[in-house]
Symmetry: C2
Subunit: 584 residues, 2 copies
């Protein structure tokens, strides 16, 4: 037996007990006549003491050799500490060591194994197994485990059945790019890794499973933006015989349960916002509603004056920055530079100071009177002491730009408090979105999403206006889940494929099994999927998912620790009848 | 709202309540003036009644149109049944329907959706979503969910943390064949899908996670034997600072918990058997110990007589078939034919009847006296009325053959009772096994398994004799789990790679990150993995895993429902810089 206790559990009540501990040397302080060693394991740190008077000489000498991260086993007596450490739970005691064995030595780690490490991202990823020893990473992984356990227990209690769906499925050109897997037993053919178990969960509904969930890895071969991973985890859910209202209630319940159990936060009924309102008021379909700064549309009050920039813009829109009147001219100029960066892409920014005396001072004073500007303040809810920032341009672009500015300013103003939680349903998403590149409509959610029944007729005349029974769950400015009511009859599904530009043959080849299934008695159904990586990060008060993934990949899709992907044995390629078209 | 209740919950206490139900038409009996419909959902069956006197005419007519598997919604009043059905929980009541709407019609299913269906395996797989509507399949999936929930809750309670390890990893030529995934962002390079998270769980131990588990999909591109799947699920576990004893206790605890919670069976401490003994007594490293029929080795008593076949055999070994003396000559001949089938491969079988009067009658009477045969009976524990079956040949082959015969006879004799559970640890597995094909030793478990420390020196002189700290958990003749104590120092690991024929460069290229990790303070560790598919099947009293997988693949690795794998778009191949070397 390697240990009688772990390094986090000994207390004053254990004094005089003989114990055996195992763990890593966190640090060692050698005063010559006395050596203190902090012994660490997953559960905590316990102080060991070796002292010239009480410890046998041989053990004393062995203790002097201990380096950082050595793995050791000690036996000794729990004694009271002379100077107690109130910062750690084991701070009342230490172990007077009578037996020491070095289980494994350790090279000096390439970065310090401490809460605030000196290691940069790259080196920590290469030695992720050392990074995981650090409390922030270790605790994030334990936190993730707790969340998934809560999710599973809650959903199981609610009658959901976790069903494993296959990973080796079929490639579909629709949507994002698939990772594919060549089949050796079916030469020339390929499996694809699932982007989500979408069709399988719908088939489970056709199969009468009624309430399904699965915590499952999904795969997308996309060019990686920051904080995207080629493999990611979903809490995937589906229910039969439900309307949108049933689904919102079910998963609002789950989310409320998590906030309570994990964060100790009680949240009232989640507000619901129409997609169109979210776009109009926040420029964004996942608004952070922990703070105000909602958009004020200014077309009515800022156009038809002599300011040409506004007059020709599709949308003129502003936000009031609380206390922003205190910004210096230099600070405001920096803000203007910020919105003009290519990542944001605004061509400029108009501003208006709201002075404490009720007067206004704008960057376009020659075009606008005090009365005009008072209307700007009214539309943006600006109060004396605020700063109004105004952008203009094509509606969608300018909304995106102003939304980015709103989030940036809120961040700077400390309005995005990590321990405040403001969940929100965004509902009535458009069914289709126009794709500039291919010059056609794509399914905004996916091709199985049901249009609002009373808007079906608009598909022919004004497809962009058709709304869907589709919804997102938004938490603190992040989409943590999304879903829809599905089409459950073959006729509507065939019509949708047609609108999405699938020929009948293509639709049959790719989704034939689903359309077949719909002929044999498909129930009304719908569902939702949470992005687990992000959900966990946000519940932990963070926004970077990488910290909550044990072995993440970098932005080039590489695992730098195991050095994957890697070239393949030519024998393996031959077995798959594949040939590389590039020279390596 | 589609329903106020489900189809399994209404009882006599609900009489006179107005309810709404949704579900599938299981069957409909139309007597003209009265129609009964069995409405089915996941939760049960409820009888609906439409009758000419009490039901509006329009609804009556609509009800006449209902076919099997139509999806309907009804509203009505719960009334007492005239003739109650004690076989179903809702058998006391029926619903007098006042409102009916057909949510979806259904084509006639290609097989009957009943417990005993008329559908063969192939058609049921093609329409798996219909097969899942059948109770046996549906209940198997729900059972699987219950088992995984119990596993997760038990291990979490015991301090294990579920950590997700990556699916896109690196190919290693050792062991079974990998499925590979071409990388588009790293042209010419490939990921591999994990055969198990082995190295990652070891790295998590190096990372101090202490106790890890994961219920995880694994992938092996092997030629599929019956009841093997290219993707399968493991309960993967690892612990640090443990010896073999700690691991056996931890997972005996889990297994005992499952048997109790899932099957209501209390099992005492699991017996432990040496691998060598299992092979000697059962010819098999996963013996079914629910019944006797242990092997009796007969070399000593059957050789050195005039029977040349036995004299030249490496092993002569027999089993006593309880009551087998009652077999007719014809039945015994059939048994001989059975062992001579190519799947078994015995060249023949000697038998000896144990008569009730204590005399013997063997097929080789001219070589053996009654005294000789009495010794056979003694060695095989044969009693009067039994039949001794004896095979001979090369040790390993003849053990395998006799083991197959033992299992077959036990099956026929009804000794393999599905509801009796006899778990067993088989321990001290050999470290290496000789591979005839490559003419070298392979790791029997995997190359990270620790040899027994006191046998390390044998590696040079008699590698086949070296035992490992490796163990299997066997249940009712099936291996349900297996694991080992791992090597945790770089030196021993390097030595093992050397014995397994890896050059230093190869070892470094494939496992360099693990060997590097071992330099930074790796703790002693070990673990175990359960095959979840099989575990669930056996707990359910079955041995076919396919029934416990929602969407299994066939023996050619195909999903016949979605028709995967499939040819790829040439555009996709181009993006991956791949070319097929065969014409499709």
């Amino acid at each position: 037996m390697y240990r009688s206790h772990n390094c986090g559990e000994l207390r004053a009540t254990h004094i005089n007990t003989e114990v055996t501990l195992s763990g890593w040397v966190q640090k060692s302080r050698d005063k010559g006549f006395i050596i203190w060693v902090d012994l660490r394991d997953r559960y905590g740190i316990t102080q060991l003491v070796f002292d010239a008077e009480r410890t046998p000489k041989a053990i004393m000498e062995e203790a002097q050799k201990l380096g950082r991260e050595f793995v050791i086993q000690v036996t000794g007596t729990v004694i009271e500490r002379a100077s107690k450490n109130a910062n750690i739970p084991t701070g009342d005691i230490e172990i007077l060591v009578t037996k020491l064995s070095i289980l494994n030595s350790a090279l000096l780690p390439p970065f310090t194994i401490e809460d605030n490490t000196d290691g940069g991202e790259d080196i920590r990823m290469k030695y992720r197994y050392l990074d995981i020893r650090r409390n922030p990473v270790k605790n994030s992984l334990i936190f993730r485990h707790k969340v998934t356990q809560e999710v599973r227990n809650y959903l199981s209690e609610a009658g959901f059945i976790e069903v494993e769906t296959p990973y080796l499925i079929k490639s579909t050109p629709e949507g994002a790019r698939d990772f594919v897997v060549p089949s050796r037993m079916n030469q020339g053919q390929f499996y694809a890794l699932p982007q989500s178990p979408q069709t399988f969960k719908q088939l489970l509904m056709v199969g009468g499973m009624d309430k399904y969930f699965q915590i499952v890895k999904c795969f997308r071969d996309e060019d990686l933006r920051a904080d995207r991973q080629p493999e990611f985890t979903q809490i995937d859910c589906e229910m039969a015989f439900v309307e949108q209202e049933d689904i919102l209630n079910a998963f609002e319940g789950l989310t409320r349960h998590l906030l309570k159990e994990i964060n100790g936060v009680e949240v009232n009924a989640f507000p619901r916002m129409l997609y169109d309102d979210a776009m109009r008021l926040y420029g964004n379909d996942k608004p952070d509603i922990r703070f105000g700064m909602t958009f004020g549309e200014l077309n009515e009050v800022a156009q038809h004056k002599d300011f040409g920039v506004f007059n020709t813009a599709e949308l003129v829109v502003g936000i009031a920055v609380p206390g922003g009147n205190s910004y210096t001219r230099k600070e405001i100029d920096k803000l203007i530079d910020w919105v003009k960066r290519p990542q944001i892409g605004a061509s400029g920014m108009v501003y208006c100071r709201c002075n404490e005396d009720g007067s206004y001072k704008s960057s376009v004073d020659k075009f606008y009177t005090q009365t005009d500007l008072a209307l700007w303040a009214e539309k943006t809810n600006a109060k004396p002491g605020d700063l109004i920032c105004v952008l203009s341009g094509p509606t969608h672009k300018v909304r995106t730009q102003l939304s980015a500015l709103r989030m940036e300013l809120a961040e700077r103003l400390g309005l995005r408090k990590p321990n405040e939680f403001a969940p929100l349903w965004v509902i009535d998403f458009p069914l289709l979105e126009w794709d500039e590149e291919t010059q056609r409509y794509h399914a905004m959610h996916h091709p199985f999403t049901a249009p609002k029944p009373d808007q079906l007729h608009l598909l022919a005349t004004n497809p962009g206006a058709v709304k869907a029974n589709a919804y997102d769950l938004v938490l603190n400015g992040n989409e943590i889940g999304g879903g829809s009511i599905r089409i459950h009859d073959k006729k509507t599904q065939a019509m949708m494929f047609d609108y999405l530009g699938f020929s009948e043959t293509e639709a049959k080849a790719q989704f034939g099994f689903l359309m077949d299934a719909f002929q044999y008695g498909a129930p009304p159904h719908g569902g939702l999927a949470f992005g687990l990586d992000r959900l966990v990060a946000i519940l932990h008060g963070k926004e970077t998912i990488r910290d909550f993934i044990a072995f993440p990949k970098n932005n080039a899709g590489r695992d730098v620790m195991i050095d994957a992907p890697a070239p393949l044995d030519s024998k393996q390629l031959d077995e798959l009848s594949l040939k590389l078209q590039i020279t390596q």
